[in-house]
């Protein structure tokens, strides 16, 4: 069943899907944020000047946070504060690549964990679809909870990105193995692999790999944005909605990105998460494509490797709908970096008055009335705006995308969200 609202993008917005994933060389230097999940940073386990092996644990947290690993072998040159792509400041460790140290690090020699959540935590697995939420927290359920359906999300979460597609084509078996491991962990009944209809080759590849099996099946999704959003995916695949204010597992479903499933598969083989596939694209890029990049490599270094035709006007981390514009390129690639887009045109046109065309209402997958949310917010009528449920907005950007008046709808709704959190709705 198709989810409601959304937009269909022109086919040009799904390019570079023909090129295989290319590994970039080892960066000479990485800046690894001590990020193991939202909230607080991981505890740093290394000191300045210390030598570290690739894969050594350099940051650890309590039960909430996943471990952080050194992604290259070398020396810790600086302990600093970096800016994450979303804008937060975060402690990080700078490592200069060097020769391998003679003796192994204590972190690498640990016994692999027995249960999947412990393994995910130990191997530093965060959701690779962009949100970077610790996998082990999605895997640990309260006693009595039962998940019946596991969905692997192979719908690219944004236009212009094609990393999930390439992974499905090139690492089919490993993704399925990871998915089945998650299935086994939950003792769930069905494994779904959701892939957009127009990605025919990926659908065929996964169908072949499952061999028409009963436990894993492919679901061809409509090629419509935001199909990759968790709630919309559940709606399409299972035909039901996750009630408001309820976690997906409470309705018996657990959704994971295909990249995350691959990371699980590799963790089972003892490999921590050190690199991820990043789509590098945009008019300013010479060789757009999908690249395997070490976590902590800077955007500037990645762009240098891939080559720039001209100076970008706008640099995005993520996709064009929900990605973050960067003030400068000295930002590290993180586990949530699905794409790097170097665009040559950056300015949003001047907004004109809303003509009530209802395009935003038709596009909203959450069932909101974006025009009223914005109208009230810009007038400072936050109580009225709060009555239009700004908290239900998933910030997909579909409304702003379709608006012929170029209203900055999402931006206003974010404001409404903040204000409605601050005031009581009746105030």
């Amino acid at each position: 069943m198709r989810f409601r609202g959304g937009v269909a993008f022109p086919r040009e917005l799904k390019p570079f899907a023909d090129r295989p994933i290319t590994g970039l060389p080892e960066p000479a230097e990485v800046l690894v944020p001590l990020y193991g999940g939202p909230g607080k940073p991981c505890r740093r386990l290394v000191e300045r000047g210390e030598r570290v092996e690739e894969g050594a644990v350099i940051g650890e947290g309590d039960a909430e946070l996943a471990a952080v690993h050194a992604t290259v072998t070398g020396t810790v040159t600086r302990l600093e504060t970096c800016r994450l792509p979303a804008g937060d400041e975060w402690p990080a460790v700078r490592i200069r690549r060097g020769e391998s140290a003679a003796h192994g690090q204590e972190g690498t020699s640990r016994a692999p964990a027995a249960t999947l959540p412990d393994l995910a935590c130990q191997m530093g697995i965060l959701g690779l679809g962009g949100a970077a939420f610790p996998l082990h927290r999605k895997l640990r359920l309260p006693a009595g909870a039962q998940v019946d359906d596991v969905i692997l999300n192979g719908a690219e979460c944004e236009p212009c990105l094609s990393g999930d597609y390439r992974l499905l084509l090139e690492r089919t078996a490993e993704i399925l193995a990871g998915g089945l491991r998650i299935l086994a962990h939950f003792r769930a009944k069905r494994l779904w692999v959701g892939i957009e209809q127009d990605r025919e080759r990926a659908i065929a590849a996964v169908r072949r790999a499952t061999g028409g099996g009963r436990r894993a099946r492919v679901f061809a999704l409509p090629a419509r944005y935001p199909q990759g959003a968790e709630k919309q995916l559940v709606r399409t695949v299972l035909g039901r909605e996750i009630p408001r204010g309820v976690y997906p597992w409470q309705t018996g479903v657990s959704v994971h990105n295909v990249g995350t499933a691959l990371a699980v598969s590799r963790a089972m083989a003892g490999q921590p998460l050190l690199a991820r596939v990043v789509t590098v694209a945009g008019e300013a890029v010479r060789e757009p494509g999908n690249y395997l990049v070490k976590i902590g490599a800077s955007l500037a270094w990645v762009l240098e490797q891939v080559g720039l035709k001209e100076r970008p006007e706008k640099l995005l981390v993520g996709g064009p709908m929900m990605g973050f514009a960067q003030a400068d390129a000295n930002v590290p690639v993180t586990k949530g970096t699905t794409g790097i887009l170097a665009l040559t045109a950056g300015e949003w046109p001047q907004p004109t008055p809303c003509v009530r065309c209802s395009a935003c209402v038709e596009a909203c997958p959450a069932g909101l009335l974006p025009l009223y949310l914005e109208g009230y917010t810009l007038k400072g009528l936050f109580a009225q705006a709060a009555a239009h449920h700004p908290g239900d907005c998933i910030e997909c950007g579909a409304c702003s995308y379709v608006c012929p008046a170029h209203r900055p709808l999402v931006q206003s709704i974010r404001w409404a969200k903040r204000e409605s959190g601050r005031r009581s709705p009746v105030a």
């Binding site: 409601r4 009630p243 514009a325 887009l341 300015e347 959450a366 069932g367 909101l368 239900d392 012929p404």
Partner: protein, 316 residues
């Protein structure tokens, strides 16, 4: 580098693009009118367009809001108004109507997007009140009628047309005569099809409008009791098609919700029919749509879309 909040991608359409589509879609009806009535119809056309453009410009200058005139919405208003007027209508009255439409109904309430009544229809209503005789001096199409008597008077012209027993198939080709835009329902339909195909308008309002009009016409408007009316006659005669596809679908004054648009469309149809059958005005579409304009905010309130994950009375 530019730093701005997401999204960073836009669909290429802007308001001017939309208005240009509407203007394009009105061309067949306009040309059909000009062809039928010849150069004599030019003054009313130009008068209405000039009046609407002047009214718009006044506010743009007064509020130093440059750039907004490029949205071409005032031309849509002017053209729609011209198509609603009799072809030999004095040009200065048309100019006055155009001025009223964009200067008062639209501009005084805040300009594009803020008016609560359809400017072209409001202007037509005003002109009808101010110069009822000029407004009802139709030039009846020579193809449709052997005796080319102008139909004037207080009765809806559809009623008079019906009395002539013209089959709707003939009317579809030649129109009933009357306003400039009513010479060829086929031409209106061509434009409407274009707007529907490009997604500029939504089918729900015209569908509700025409369906309720046809159904009501079949049920109430027959000469041999209930259920003996010709459903197609009501649709084809007069300004119903123009009203359903071009007036009632006006973004600004129609509800933005899907449910609201169904009810709104049906309301327009029912009111149009009631005014045609039992009212004293020469045309029901104008007041039908204007009345529903005022109901739009209420309709939106009672038809708010269901939120994702919300359980409603019509949802499990």
């Amino acid at each position: 580098m530019v730093v701005s909040p997401s999204p960073h991608l836009r669909r290429g359409r802007d308001v001017a693009w939309l208005m240009e589509r509407v203007l394009l879609a009105l061309l067949p009806a306009t040309f059909s009118g000009l062809y039928r009535y010849g150069p004599a119809a030019l003054p009313v056309l130009l008068g209405a367009l000039a009046g609407a453009a002047l009214g718009e410009t006044f506010w743009l200058v007064a509020l130093s809001r440059r750039g907004v005139i490029q949205d071409r919405s005032c031309l849509v208003t002017g053209l729609l108004l011209a198509l609603l007027l009799p072809p030999r209508f004095p040009w200065w009255m048309a100019l006055f109507g155009g001025l009223f439409a964009t200067g008062l109904v639209k501009g005084a309430f805040g300009g594009l997007g803020s008016n609560f009544l359809n400017p072209a229809l409001s202007a037509r209503a005003l002109l009808l009140a101010a110069w009822p005789v000029a407004m009802t001096t139709w030039v009846v199409s020579p193809d449709a009628l052997a005796s080319a008597t102008p139909l004037a008077g207080a009765f809806p012209k559809e009623t008079r047309l019906a009395a002539l027993h013209l089959p709707w198939t003939v009317l579809l080709r030649v129109g009933g005569g009357g306003s400039l835009g009513e010479t060829s329902p086929l031409a209106v339909l061509v434009g409407a099809a274009y707007l529907l195909a490009t997604g500029v308008i939504d089918f729900r309002i015209p569908a509700g409008f025409l369906a309720s009009l046809a159904l009501g016409g079949w049920f109430l408007a027959g000469s041999r009791g209930l259920g003996s009316g010709d459903p197609f006659f009501q649709i084809v005669a007069g300004g119903a098609l123009l009203g359903a596809f071009f007036m009632a679908t006006d973004y600004v004054t129609a509800p933005v919700t899907r449910g609201g648009r169904w009810i709104y469309g049906m309301g327009c149809g029912v009111l149009t029919l009631l005014i045609r059958l039992y009212g004293g005005y020469p045309e029901g579409v104008t007041y039908g749509v204007l009345l529903m304009n005022t109901a739009a905010p209420l309709l939106e309130k009672i038809t708010r879309p269901r939120l994702y994950g919300e359980r409603g009375p019509f949802h499990r």
